[in-house]
């Protein structure tokens, strides 16, 4: 049998060039790709939604989102992805597929999405203006507050969008999860939309 050697790379390994992009001067948009995270899709089995809610509460100490919200636990983020389903975003394997498989063994079907998605964190004074070109979601602070989430589409690509905690300087942070195979396409669309405001590009291992 052939021997395979798998090399784990970010879906933006080729496309992402760290540094400034677009208009010069103070960057209006900052784009940070988050790499090497654990992501597990949890979908309640038919009629088991209450059991999943109970298992999630026991595991994470917080209630899993039942509406389009992202809920922060001590060491994980629970992000709504559809009716009776959510994603668990974490680092370091503590809430990886093996661990969660036991916690939800009798109530949910799980799918490991850790290397199947790209995660892009978007901030900056022009973040909302830039996203308004790509999204039909109302991102006004009164409507899309910290912890709001949406399963939606950008540039015909399905994405999960949620607003994280504000940065220390008070700026809003928008997180974007998309299928890895669409990562480069979406990335270029985001770059094109952001170029006129000036962009700072980086990647990070920190959630």
């Amino acid at each position: 049998m052939a021997e395979f050697s798998w090399d784990i790379r970010s879906p933006l390994d080729r496309a992402l060039v760290a540094g400034p992009h677009g208009a010069r001067g103070d960057a209006g948009v900052s784009l940070t790709e988050i790499r090497n995270f654990d992501l597990v899709q949890v979908m309640a089995r038919r009629g088991k939604a209450a059991d999943v809610a109970k298992a999630a509460k026991a595991r994470f100490g917080v209630a899993a989102p039942e509406t389009p919200k992202a809920v922060g636990a001590a060491d994980a983020m629970l992000i709504w992805s559809g009716p009776d389903q959510f994603m668990v975003l974490s680092k370091g394997g503590k809430h990886g597929i093996e661990a969660l498989g036991q916690a939800f063994a009798s109530s949910a079907s799980l799918s490991d999405q850790s290397h199947a998605r790209v995660l892009i964190s978007i901030a900056g004074t022009k973040a909302r203006t830039m996203l308004a070109k790509l999204s039909s979601i109302d991102l006004h602070p009164d409507v899309f507050a910290v912890g709001s989430a949406a399963a939606t589409s950008m540039d015909h690509t399905s994405v999960t969008l949620w607003r994280g905690n504000d940065r220390p300087d008070g700026q809003a942070v928008f997180n974007l999860l998309a299928f890895a195979t669409f990562a480069e396409s979406l990335w270029h669309t985001v770059l094109d939309s952001a170029a006129e405001y000036g962009v700072t590009i980086s990647h990070s291992e920190e959630l």
């Binding site: 979908m43 309640a44 089995r45 038919r46 009629g47 088991k48 939604a49 999943v52 389009p68 992805s81 559809g82 009716p83 009776d84 039909s136 949406a150 399963a151 939606t152 589409s153 015909h156 399905s158």
Partner: protein, 91 residues
């Protein structure tokens, strides 16, 4: 046109896919050839209020039953399709 998904809220048409008439019901196994032919092929071309299946593929990926007036595009009701998407629905 916008559709208010019962799970996601109001969304643009581009996030949805139209499947067609939500009324036809699969006939019983012994219903006979005419009933099956009708179920598979024959559709009413309704000018007015119609019950339709829509898929929120660009969002929460739930199947929805939409009541829409085909003359005005006015949508009077949107509900989850039975047994589709949610573990709660049709359980």
């Amino acid at each position: 046109m916008r559709i208010t998904c019962p799970f996601c809220g109001e969304r643009e048409l581009g996030e949805f896919t139209y499947l067609g008439d939500a009324k036809p019901v699969r006939p019983a196994a012994d219903a006979g050839e005419d009933a099956v032919y009708d179920y598979v092929y024959l559709r009413d071309n309704i000018a007015g209020v119609m019950s339709e299946n829509w898929y929120h593929g660009g969002g929460c990926r739930a199947w929805l039953k939409v009541t829409r007036n085909t003359l005005t595009h006015e949508i009077s009701a949107v509900e989850p399709a039975a047994g589709a998407g949610a573990a709660k629905v049709g359980a």
